[in-house]
Amino acid sequence: METTKNTRMYFGRPGNFYGFITFVVMIALTAYQIIMSYLVLKQEKDDFAKLLIFFVSYMFIEWIYFIVVGVIKNRQISLEIIAFALSSISLFITASINPSSALTQFASIVLGLFVFIFMIEFMKDTTRTSFMRMPMALAALGLLAITILLASYKNGAKNWIYIGGVSIQPSEFAKIAFVYVGAATLDKLQSTRSLTMYVLFAVACVGLLGLMSDFGAALIYFATFIIMAFMRSGDFRTIIMVCAAALIGGIIILTMRPYILTRFKTYRHIWEYIDEGGFQQTRSLIYAASGGFFGVGIGNGYLRDVFAASEDLVFCLVCEELGMLTGFLILITIALMALGTAYNARYSRSSFFTIASCAAAGMIIVQTSLNVFGVTDFIPMTGVTLPFISQGGSSMISCWGLLAFIKAADARTYGLSLSHTKERRQLR
C-alpha cells in the first residue's frame, strides 16, 4: 500500500514537474541509445547477437535504476543519467571498434554502478566514513606499491597488471582512495590542523606514480592534492611552498630521465613530424575536423584505425564520428557538472563530502583537460583517459567511484527518504 501511494504520488500529480522532466530525459536517452545501437549493429556481422544483448541490457539497467531510485525512492538522478549517457557512448565506441572488448566495457560500467551505489550507502554514516580513512590510505599506497611490484610495461608506462586475462590499472582505483584520504569531517579538520601527514601521504603517492612513469596520473594526483590541501587548510603559503617543491622535484626528474623531454619535441610542431611523433595528434585534428558539426556517423571514421584511438584520442574520435558539437557538448557538461558540485557542496552533510566532492570534480576536470588539450596539441600529450568516454575498465569504475563523492555532497542524497506514512506516523 505504501508503494502504490508513492507511485501515485509520483505520476499522479500534475505538479510534479521535475519528475516529469526526468522521465522525458529518460525517453530521450533511450531514443538516443536505440538509434546508436542500430547504427553500430548494422555494421556488425559477427558479434551482432552479443552486442545486441549488451545494448538492451544496458538500457534495461538504466530503466531499473530510474524506477527504483528515481521513482520509488524519489531521488534526483540527473547526475547518474549524465554518467549513463556518457558511459553508453564509451560502450558504443568500444563495441564498434573492438567488439571483443565490449564485454569488459559493459561489465565495468555495471561494476562501476555497483561501486557507486555501494559507496553512497557506505558513506551514509559519517562516523563510519571518517573511520575508514586510515584503511583507505593504506589501500591507496598498497595498490600503488603492488603495481610497481607486479606490473608489466605497457606503452611506456609500468602501471598495468594482468589478472586472469584482464588488464587493470590499480592507479585508477587508488584515485578513489586518494580522495577519500584527503577529505575529512570538520572535527578531524579542526583537531589535526597540520597538513604534514597528508602532504607526506600525497608525496608518497605521487612518487610511486613517478616511479611507474605514469606522469599523467602523477599530475592528476598532484592537482587533486592541491585542491584538497587548500580545501582543508585555506593556507596559501603551504600550497605555494608545496608547488615550488614539486616544480623543483619535477626539474630534478627531468634531468635524471631526459627521455621524457623527447615527448616535448613534437609539442607545437606536430605538423612537421606528421608521420612520426606527431602522428596521433595530427590525425586527431584532421579527422575531428572531418566530422563537421554532427559527425560522419559511428563506424565511418578513420581515426579509429590509429593507435589508442578509443583511449587517448577518443575526444577527437567522438568529434569525427559523432560531431564536433557533440565533443564540445561533453566538455561543457563536465564543466557544468563541476559547477553543480560546487553549488551543492555548500549544503553537504559534512565537510568530508564538501572536500571529497570538490576534489573528485576537480580531478575529473584536470583529467579531462590533460586528455583533450593534449590530443589537440594545446599541451603535450600525457596519455590519460577521458572520464566515462574512454575505453578502459579501471578508468570507468574509478569515474563512477568519484561520482559517488559528488553525489554524496548533494544533501538530497541523504535526504529524509521518509514516506508519507512514516512521517504521519511520527507526527501522529
Binding site: 519528475g19 530525459v25 547504427l39 549517457a85 565511418n300 549544503y347 544533501a411 511520527q426 507526527l427 501522529r428
Partner: protein, 189 residues
Amino acid sequence: METIVYNSFYLQAILFALLAVVLLICALSVFIKPAKRIIRASLVDAKSGHIFDISHAETSIGRSRSCDIVLEDISVSRFHAVLSMRSKSWMIFDTNSTGGVFVNGKRIDKKQDLKDGDRIKFGNTLEYIFYSTAVTTRKKKKTPVYNYREDFDDSDIDYNPRPSNSGYNSSYKNNINDTDENLDFKDFS
C-alpha cells in the same frame, strides 16, 4: 579505400539534439534549486537566554573569527569544539582544546553523543543548553523540520483535525515544533 556511405546529416543532427537534451537538462537541473536542508538545533545560553541557531550539519565553535559560533571567553581555544549531526545523534567533538568540553558537568574525552537538554560548557564559559530542535521564543514558526525536496507537494497529507485525546487541536502545521522530540533520529540518515 572503399567508398563510405556517410550517415544522413539529419540523423546525425537528431542524435546530437537528443544527447544535448539529455546532458544539458540534467546538468542544469542541479541549479534549479539547491538541495538545502534546513537543519534545526539550538544552543541556548543558560544565563542570558541568547539562542545560537544551528543550521549546518557541522558547526565549529571557538574563539577564532572564522568559526561558525564565536565565543569570546579567554578560556575558549581558537578552535575549541565541533558540533556535528551524525547518523545516530548529534555529537560534540573536543578538537584539541586547552580548556576542555564539559557535558552535564563531566569533561568529555574526544567526543560525546548529545541528547536534547544536555548542558555544555566550553572551558570556563557558562553553560549552554543544547536543544535538538529549533527553539523559538514566542511565535510558533511554521517551518517544517526537513525540506529535502523543494518539489515536495503536500497535497496528499491529511490535514484532518487530530483526535482530541492527543492534546492537539486545529491544523497539523501549527503543531510541528511541539512534536519534534518524537522524531526518531534513524530517519535522519
